[in-house]
């Protein structure tokens, strides 16, 4: 724990979970498609759905999708900025089932890409990415991480970790999930260092690998 966990973060109010955390969820969702989406449907669950207007949660989520950070003073104008950036969005209230009360689901599209991303704001501005395109995962946004969508074949995990090992990248945590045996699977690999784009490209070019998403830590140094 750092003194800046106590005196901080610097953020746009009013709530660390419903505003600052919501911005970070938007950042994580944006990272999945790597761009400001053309269209976003944002579904709000639980306490997010009940209190989003008073906490500016809707503005914060949109601001996050636009790439703003939790201390960006343009967050209150996020809707206007979205319009200027050509991003259309809908805010809907719904039920995501048995998930954390502060949760949202983003259905994003950009050109030919689309993604469905779910996450929760778990308190004090901390967030967890909980699902991408139907695969469940658990990523806090605090580490360098690769999301690797691949075919569930023998050797695919070894091939990916082999590339990382050859680049001297140390794996701190790893989880593999799949929807059904032999079909598409997802690896979440958290490493200790920044991952060079050449390494990301090398992993992307592996047989059985369909798509790779790189997450840099959300922590900023303000």
């Amino acid at each position: 724990m750092s003194v800046f966990d106590i005196i901080g973060p610097i953020m746009i109010g009013p709530s660390s979970s419903h505003t600052a955390g919501a911005v970070k969820l938007g950042n994580l969702a944006r990272n999945v498609i790597g761009h400001t989406p053309d269209h976003a449907e944002i579904l709000l669950h639980g306490s997010f759905a009940r209190t989003y207007k008073g906490h500016g949660t809707d503005l914060a989520l949109v601001a996050g999708l636009l790439g703003m950070r939790p201390d960006d003073e343009r967050i209150p104008q996020a809707f206007h900025i979205a319009a200027g950036s050509g991003m259309q969005f809908d805010i809907v209230e719904g039920d995501l089932g048995n998930v954390h009360p502060n949760s949202a689901r983003f259905s994003l599209s950009w050109q030919n890409t689309s993604a469905i991303v779910e996450g929760s704001s778990v308190g004090g501005g901390a967030v967890v990415l909980t699902a991408v395109d139907g695969f469940s995962l658990e990523y806090s946004g605090n580490s360098h991480a690769l999301l690797v969508f691949h075919l569930d074949r023998p050797g695919s995990v070894a091939a990916v970790t082999g590339v990382l090992a050859a680049s001297m990248l140390n794996i701190g945590a790893m989880r593999v999930s799949r929807r059904e045996k032999g079909s598409e699977a997802l690896m979440l690999i958290e490493v200790d260092q920044e991952i060079p784009s050449s390494v990301v490209a090398k992993v992307s070019s592996l047989e059985y690998v369909r798509r790779v998403i790189y997450f840099a830590p959300l922590e900023d140094d303000n």
Partner: protein, 288 residues
């Protein structure tokens, strides 16, 4: 990990330094970052705190819900007495109102209690003629106190009620202010103990689940209690129960609070007929 107010105070007394020096040393050791960089980062936080006071004072618009805004300005122009207390109240409320209006603040320790430290420290710094550098250092004292509370208890209203948020902010502000005013490390711990003692049992009951009613005024009261604790401590009034034990008691009390009084907006003021009516009215209001 800073786990005890007593340890911090003893370390400071042993080394003939301030509590803030002990906390800064801890940060240097654990983060591996250069001292200058850490102090500079804290300085930036103080600057944003002071800016949020000024912005909040000038706030004339209501918050997005229409529930708050303008009370700090009201206090500044119509308070019956203009003194340190009226200034602490006005500044704490200013920051809390600015927070509700989606202004930029420093969570200290939380966004909902962000008004307490800026208000108390800026007023004390002015009164005792402390430098900006001293004020930055006092934020390390506040952080150290907050870390101990976070370790032994909690800083989250959802876990411990308002005593864990505004109560902790008040204890942090009281201790930091005593150091800023020239008190010794022992007196810092007395102020922490007495400020937190004064708020034991305070429930978290936000109307409509929003950080406005009663949170904004509670920031003012938490500041006023911190100021009172400073008076007591600097006068040599000791706390009978040591700070660490008060913190442990705060946690035990928080655990004993029913869920309705821990930020769920289902008890306390949130459950009063007027509280419920405000919440109902507010769900539909979306002035943007």
């Amino acid at each position: 990990m800073l786990t005890s107010i007593e340890h911090m105070v003893k370390a400071a007394s042993r080394q003939h330094c301030k509590v803030s020096d002990v906390v800064l040393e801890y940060e240097v050791l654990t983060s591996g970052r250069p001292r200058d960089r850490i102090v500079e980062k804290m300085h930036k936080r103080l600057s944003i705190m002071l800016l949020s006071i000024e912005k909040g004072k000038r706030l004339t618009e209501r918050s997005p819900t229409g529930l708050s805004g303008g009370d700090a300005a009201r206090l500044l122009s119509h308070s019956p007495v203009q003194d340190m207390l009226s200034e602490v109240l006005a500044r704490a409320i200013a920051v809390a109102e600015y927070n509700a209006a989606m202004g930029k603040i420093v969570a200290a320790p939380t966004a909902g209690s962000a008004g307490v430290l800026p208000a108390v420290l800026s007023v004390i710094a002015e009164h005792f003629g402390a430098t900006e550098e001293d004020t930055v250092m006092s934020l390390f004292t506040a952080a150290g106190i907050g870390m101990v509370i976070s370790y032994r208890a909690t800083l989250a209203g959802a876990e411990g009620g308002c005593q864990a948020e505004c109560g902790s902010a008040s204890a942090m502000a009281a201790g930091a202010a005593v150091e800023l005013a020239g008190g010794d490390p022992e007196q810092v711990s007395w102020a922490v103990a007495s400020a937190l003692s004064a708020q034991l049992g305070l429930v978290c009951d936000p109307v409509g689940g929003l950080v406005e009613v009663p949170c904004i005024q509670r920031n003012g009261y938490a500041g006023a209690i911190a100021l009172s604790a400073l008076y007591l401590s600097l006068a040599g009034v000791k706390s009978h129960i040591p700070a660490d034990e008060v913190i442990d008691a705060m946690y035990a009390v928080g655990k004993a609070l029913p869920e309705s009084l821990r930020e769920t907006a289902t008890g306390g003021l949130a459950a009063t007929p007027t509280g419920v009516a405000i919440a109902t009215r507010c769900t539909g209001c979306h002035p943007r």
